[in-house]
């Protein structure tokens, strides 16, 4: 298996506050990584640096062989290959679900409209909301919106998917339907980095677990080892509180 994401000694500051401290990480193709940690630990910042929604100041981030730098063209290319699902869904409220899904393929990947719609419907079927395609985001439930957002990201046929607390803004009932879609995606072999507090999901799909605190990666381990035999005291404390 080959490396698809590589972070080398990444440092990131928000003004004086250091959000990421010397973070290094390698992700292989088809690997599923779940990042957990207390709030403010830098886990969201870390994945947002991977598609440069945040800029890092020091270190190197290499995604699919391209280094992330100030070069706008490269960044746009990387973003087209890296899908992202947000906590707040961030669907485009002025467009129908179908248009949400076809917009980027048509305008960024320059696909013909018909082909883009075929891809969109296929992905909407995968997340089981094909029947809602003509509706607007405001007409759907939170869970349906988040699954649409997942479908929208998949329509770009990304090589990597980033999830930034995808279930944190959802009612408990709707969390499962979103997680189910994510499990399906994992089984289909997608490379995934997921920031979440859903430990059940982590145990089911993650190859590796990462625990972050105060901008550092405190622990990285195989999922089974991470839960059965955590090494650091901080991890033990965190796990004892959320499990």
């Amino acid at each position: 298996m080959s490396k698809i994401i590589e972070l080398k000694n990444v440092n990131k500051w928000f003004d004086k506050f250091q959000a990421l401290k010397d973070v290094s990480l390698e992700v292989n193709q088809q690997e599923k990584i779940v990042i957990c940690g207390p709030s403010g630990s830098g886990k969201s910042t870390l994945i947002r640096c991977i598609n440069r929604l945040e800029e890092h100041q020091e270190g190197e981030i290499i995604v699919d062989g391209k280094e992330i730098s100030d070069n706008t063209k490269d960044i746009e290319q990387i973003r087209a290959e890296v899908g992202m699902v947000f906590q707040q869904f961030n669907l485009f409220p002025h467009l129908s679900i179908l248009d949400n899904c076809t917009l980027a393929p048509i305008w960024v990947k320059k696909l013909p409209k018909k082909q883009a719609e075929e891809i969109a419907m296929r992905n909407l079927e995968k997340v089981q909301i094909a029947d809602q395609a003509k509706k607007f985001p405001g007409q759907l439930s939170g869970g349906q919106q988040q699954r649409s957002a997942l479908a929208r990201a998949l329509c770009m046929e990304p090589k990597i998917m980033l999830f930034d607390e995808p279930t944190s803004a959802l009612d408990p009932e709707m969390i499962k339907e979103v997680l189910d879609s994510m499990v399906d995606l994992a089984k289909a072999g997608m490379t995934m980095i997921v920031v979440t507090h859903e430990m059940g999901f982590a145990k089911e799909v993650a190859d590796n677990m990462i625990f972050m605190d105060e901008g550092r990666i405190v622990e990285k381990a195989k999922t089974k080892d991470f839960f059965d035999n955590p090494q650091s005291d901080r991890t033990k404390l965190f796990l004892s509180q959320i499990l």
Binding site: H94, V108, M156
Partner: protein, 413 residues
């Protein structure tokens, strides 16, 4: 004596009697000039209907009376003594002042004839508007050439009308034609000079048609300029940001009338000798830039109201700056600020009369000119009422259109 449900009928009759007397007093006073409360001291007589009416309304204020009409009156117009008084004042004012206004407008007004001497009634002299109508619409444009203005506007309206009915594919080209080709055709048709059309200098243009020309050009041009200024003001590039801020603050800080003066008097001094830019063009540029500064701030308000997540979602899909703004951000931001945009547009239309300072006379300017004609002195009222009505119709139509647009574009549940 507290009104109660037990003696409902007697209270309603009693109260109704007082209310009847108060209305009778006002009606007699207005239409027959009788004052049967004249025996009272003059101040008391003046307020008598109000006092009687309030007492009457007090008696009929019975909650849950069971009578639907009475309950409706009580909840909507008569919930407290204060509201009762307000209700009466409004009704009495309408009774007293609507008839004289109608008289002035219609019943005592003169419509036929063609000189001031034909106006014998005490009401409005619409003969004035009738005789000058042609000038009010076309200004000093030669009578024989007025078909050119007519056809330019008929073409415009039919194109705009057609754009509502044709399918989306043709609509795109129609809009491009309207925005980029039509203005040239329209202006050429009206100004003439080629194709065997007699040249008509812009000084002769005027009246309502000039109002439309100036408004339409400024509206169409100030919108994209304002949009780019709004984006510029939020740009991360300092050069663009500060240029935009400077431009916006400069134009917003200067009164329009000063801008127009400058365009007429100072601007030509900066031009090299021998070059000449038409007065109307200069005015159009001045108004456009002025309104663009306002438009920019309205649109910026919409841009700022959008959550950050919309930008991030667009970026995460690989969209660059322009695609993100034109596909995601602007459609939402503009929809949010439709009321503000309509506001700016209406203000623009109503600002057009100011072009009189450079000697261009649109509708209000022509009225101004006509009322100083020695043969028609004393007709200011009719002229301004007419101009006011026309402006109101234009502005109200635009306002309604913007409301429709808001509804049409709404994607809420």
């Amino acid at each position: 004596m507290k009104p109660s449900k037990e003696n409902l009928t007697s209270f309603v009759i009693f109260g109704g009697f007082f209310i009847f007397i108060s209305f009778l007093d006002v009606l007699l006073n207005t239409f027959l000039n009788l004052n049967f409360t004249g025996f009272l001291p003059s101040k008391l007589s003046y307020f008598a209907p109000l006092i009687l009416g309030t007492i009457g309304l007090y008696f009929i204020r019975i909650e849950f009376s069971g009578n639907k009409l009475l309950d409706k009156i009580n909840t909507n117009f008569n919930s407290t003594n204060f509201n009762a008084i307000l209700t009466l004042i409004v009704i009495f004012t309408l009774i007293k002042y609507i008839p004289p206004i109608l008289n002035w407008f219609f019943f005592d007004a003169n419509f036929s004839g063609n000189s001031k001497e034909d106006c014998t009634g005490s009401g409005a002299c619409w003969v004035f508007v009738k005789v000058w109508f042609n000038r009010f619409v076309y200004g000093m444009y030669p009578d024989a050439e007025q078909w050119r203005i007519n056809s330019a506007f008929i073409l415009l309206f039919s194109l705009v009308g057609a754009s509502f009915f044709v399918p989306l594919k043709i609509k795109k080209y129609l809009l491009i034609f309207l925005l980029f080709v039509y203005p040239i055709i329209g202006l050429k048709l009206i100004s003439g000079g080629d194709f065997g059309l007699k040249y008509v200098e812009t000084g002769a243009w005027g009246g309502l048609s000039l109002t439309f020309i100036v408004s339409a050009f400024a509206l169409i041009l100030c919108f994209p300029i304002g949009m780019f200024l709004a984006l510029g003001r939020r740009s991360s590039l300092p050069a663009i940001r500060y240029t935009s801020i400077g431009f916006i603050e400069l134009w917003r800080g200067v009164p329009l009338i000063t801008v127009l003066f400058m365009s007429a008097v100072m601007f030509p001094m900066f031009l090299p000798d021998g070059t000449y830019v038409d007065k109307l063009i200069r005015v159009l540029i001045a108004i456009t830039l002025f309104e663009a500064a306002y438009m920019a701030e309205v649109i910026r308000g919409g841009l700022q109201a959008l959550p950050k997540g919309q930008y991030e979602a667009a970026k995460s899909l690989g969209m660059g700056y322009w695609r993100m703004h034109f596909l995601i951000i602007l459609p939402q931001a503009l929809k949010l600020v439709i009321p503000g945009i309509a506001n700016t547009f209406l203000a623009l239309v109503k600002d057009t009369p100011l072009i009189f300072v450079v000697g261009l006379l649109e509708l209000a300017g022509m009225v101004n000119l006509a009322k100083t004609n020695p043969k028609w002195l004393g007709m200011a009222m009719e002229g301004y009422v007419f101009a006011g009505l026309v402006f109101w119709i234009i502005c109200y139509a635009m306002s309604r259109y913007s409301q429709n647009l808001e509804k049409k574009l709404s994607t809420e549940r």
